[in-house]
Symmetry: C2
Subunit: 351 residues, 2 copies
DNA sequence: TTGAAAGCGCTAACAG
DNA sequence: CTGTTAGCGCTTTCAA
C-alpha cells in the first residue's frame, strides 16, 4: 500500500490539513512546517492519491479521446497535438481506440463519463446518425468536440479540414495537368467527410466543364481487399479507363496504389494518382505520391483549445464552434500529365 | 453534476446498498428491486462514479503504459496488442507518450503511480542506467514490465525479440546473397537493443570469417538529419564503400533509404539494404525493402499477460520473467546479390 | 498558522 | 432480502 497523507502527517508531526496545504502550494504555512512535510514526502516517496483528490474536488483535469484506429498514422499525429496542448493547459489526455466499432465507441464514451473526464475529443468510428435523445444521452453534460469526421445529428464543436475544398484542389490540379478521365475511389459514404470530398471532386469537374461519369466513381470501404478488387475491376475496363485516380483517404489510397502495382502498371507512366492523406513517409515512395495533407497535429491541438474553452465557459451559452483548417496539396511525381509525364516534384500549394 | 447513487436510490425507492448490489450483479436482490433500480438507472442516465468506487475498493483495474513516441508506427501496434489483451482481462489501459524525454518519462511514471494504476508497461525513452534506489523509487510497489527496450539496472519482467539473433539472421542473409562489405547503421548505443543488434551483426560476420571493419559501423541516433548525413558520408567514401547496408531500426532505416535515393542511387542496383522494423506499409515501396519484422501486436499482448500474472501473484516471490519472441526476416527486393540483382520476393524466414 | 472535522460517491460489512 | 453505517484519502471550511 502506498503511504497516505495521514501517515505522512504523522511522520512530519503536523496535521493532515497542513500537508494538504503544502502540497497545493497554499500560502500561510510556516517555513518550518513546510520543510518537515517536504522531508517526509521524500522519506516516504509519497505520491498524492489523485483518485481521492478527484473525488473530493470533483475535478479530474482529464480529457478523454476516442479514435477509430490507432494504427492509422493520421491518428497518432492528432493525438500528439492534442496531448501536448492538454499538457500545457495542465490536463491529462486519456486515449481510447474504438477499433472502428460503433458499439465499442459508445461503451468507451460511457467509460470516459464514468471516469468523469471533463471533456471528450471524438473521432467517430462510423457514420451513424444520432437521434436527439441518443445524442443527449451520449453527451450527458460533458462537452464533446468532434475531429476529422463529423457525426450527423450531433450538434457540437468540431475541428477538421475543409474536405470539399481540399478535394476540389486536388482534382483541379489533375485537370490542370491535362487529365479529363479522373476516377474517384471513396471510402464509406456514411462518413460525412467522404461525402464532402466527393462533392469537391464533382465541383472541380463541373467548374472545368467536364462530365461527371458514375462509372468513374468507385464506392469503396475501409477494407483493403475490397477496395483493391474494386480498383482492379475499374482499371481493367478497357472502355473509359481513367488516366488518373483520386483516393479520398489513406486506406483507399494504399489499396489503389497496391492495385496499380499488382497489375504491373506504374504511376505516373500508366496512370496518375493522388491521395487524400499521406500514405506514411510518403516521400519515400518511388515515385512520390501527390497527396492532400491535413494538419493533423494542429487538428489535435486546436480541438483541445476549443474544448477547454467550452469547459471553462461552464453552462454559459455559446454557439457551436466549427473550426476549418486548410489542407495542403503536396505535388509529387504521381500526378504528371497523361502523356508528357513531366515530373513536378516537391511543389506544394495551399487552399 | 451527474446523478449519484443516492439520488438513484431515492428515485428507485430502495437503499443505496441495494443499488450497489444491483450494479455489481450481486446475488440476493429481489427481482422487483432490481427492476426498479434498472429503470431508475435508465431514467437518470446514471453512470457509476469510477473514482469513488476506486477509492473505496482500492482497485482501479487500470494498467499504465509509457512509450517514447506514438508517431513511430511500431508503437501503436504494440498498444493495440496491449489494449486488447487488457480489455479481455477486464482492465483499462492508459497510454502516455514521453516524447523520448527521460524526465517526462519519470514524471509520467509518477503520474501513473498517483493514478494508482495496478501495473505499468514501459518502453523506456533513453538508455540511462538506474541506480538501485532510483529503481526502487520508480517502481515503488507497482509491478513494471519493460517492452522492446530494456533499461539497465531495472530487474523487472520484460518482453522483446531476440535482437541479437534477429540481426544475425539479417546479416547472414546478406552474406548468403554474396555481400562481404556490409555497413551497419545503428541508433543510440545507449539502448541495449541497439547494442544487441550490433552484436548480432558482428557475430554473423565472424561466423562467416568476414572481418569487422569499424569504418563500416556508422553510429547514428534517432535524428533523421544526422543519420542522413552519416549515411551520405559513408556512401560517398570511394574506398571501401559497402555493397550493402543494414539499419538497426525503423528511424535509421528510413534515413538510410532517404540518403540512398537522395544521392541518386537505387536499391538493390547500386546498394543492397535491409532494415530492422518495417518502414510502414513496407510492401508498397518500390523496390520492396527486405526487413526484420517484430511481432509488435504480440509484444503488447504478451506483456499484458505477464504483467497481469505478476499483479495476481501479489507479493509472492517469483523470478523475473524474460520473454523473447522470434522476429521474422521478410525478404524483398532490396537485398539482392551485389551484381546479379536477382529479386527474391516475398520469401520469409523465421528465427 | 494550525488542527479538527465534515464529506465527496461508493462498497462492504452487518443487523434487522 | 434490505437498510444502515463506516470508512477509502483527500480538500476545505471553521475555530482555536
Amino acid at each position: 500500500m502506498p503511504p497516505t497523507q495521514k501517515e505522512l502527517a504523522k511522520l512530519a508531526g503536523v496535521s493532515s490539513g497542513t500537508v494538504s496545504n503544502v502540497i497545493s502550494g497554499a500560502t500561510g504555512v510556516s517555513e518550518r512546517s513546510r520543510r518537515k512535510v517536504l522531508d517526509a514526502i521524500k522519506a516516504l516517496n509519497y505520491q498524492p492519491n489523485l483518485i481521492a483528490r478527484s473525488l473530493r474536488t470533483n475535478r479530474t483535469f482529464t480529457l478523454g479521446m476516442v479514435i477509430p484506429d490507432i494504427t492509422v498514422p493520421f491518428f497518432p499525429k492528432i493525438i500528439r497535438g492534442a496531448e501536448s496542448a492538454a499538457r500545457q493547459a495542465g490536463y491529462y489526455l486519456s486515449v481510447l481506440d474504438s477499433e472502428s466499432n460503433e458499439e465499442r465507441e459508445a461503451a468507451m464514451m460511457g467509460l470516459l463519463r464514468s471516469q468523469r473526464v471533463e471533456g471528450v475529443l471524438l473521432v467517430t468510428a462510423g457514420g451513424r446518425k444520432w437521434s436527439a435523445e441518443e445524442a443527449a444521452a451520449l453527451i450527458a453534460g460533458v462537452p464533446i468536440i468532434c475531429l476529422d469526421r463529423l457525426p450527423k445529428g450531433l450538434e457540437v464543436d468540431s475541428v477538421c479540414v475543409d474536405d470539399c475544398r481540399a478535394a476540389e484542389m486536388a482534382i483541379s490540379h489533375l485537370i490542370e495537368m491535362g487529365h479529363t478521365q479522373i476516377a474517384i475511389i471513396t471510402g464509406p459514404l456514411t462518413l460525412q467527410n467522404e461525402q464532402e470530398r466527393l462533392r469537391g471532386y464533382r465541383q472541380a469537374l463541373q467548374k472545368s466543364g467536364l462530365p461527371i461519369q458514375s462509372s468513374l466513381h468507385w464506392r469503396g470501404s475501409f477494407e483493403q481487399e475490397e477496395v483493391s478488387r474494386l480498383c482492379q475491376k475499374g482499371l481493367l475496363s478497357s472502355v473509359g479507363r481513367p488516366t488518373a485516380v483520386f483516393a479520398t483517404n489513406g486506406v483507399t489510397g494504399l489499396a489503389a496504389i497496391r492495385s496499380i502495382y499488382a497489375m504491373g502498371l506504374s504511376t505516373p507512366k500508366d496512370i496518375a494518382c493522388v491521395t487524400f492523406d499521406e500514405l506514411t513517409s510518403e516521400d519515400f515512395f518511388r515515385p512520390g505520391i501527390t497527396s492532400v495533407v491535413q494538419p493533423a497535429y494542429e487538428i489535435g491541438s486546436r480541438a483541445v483549445e476549443v474544448l477547454l474553452n467550452r469547459i471553462a465557459m461552464g453552462t454559459t451559452y455559446k454557439a457551436v464552434e466549427k473550426v476549418r483548417l486548410p489542407a495542403t496539396l503536396i505535388v509529387r511525381e504521381s500526378s504528371a500529365t497523361p502523356l508528357a509525364q513531366t515530373a513536378t516534384k516537391g511543389k506544394s500549394r495551399s487552399q
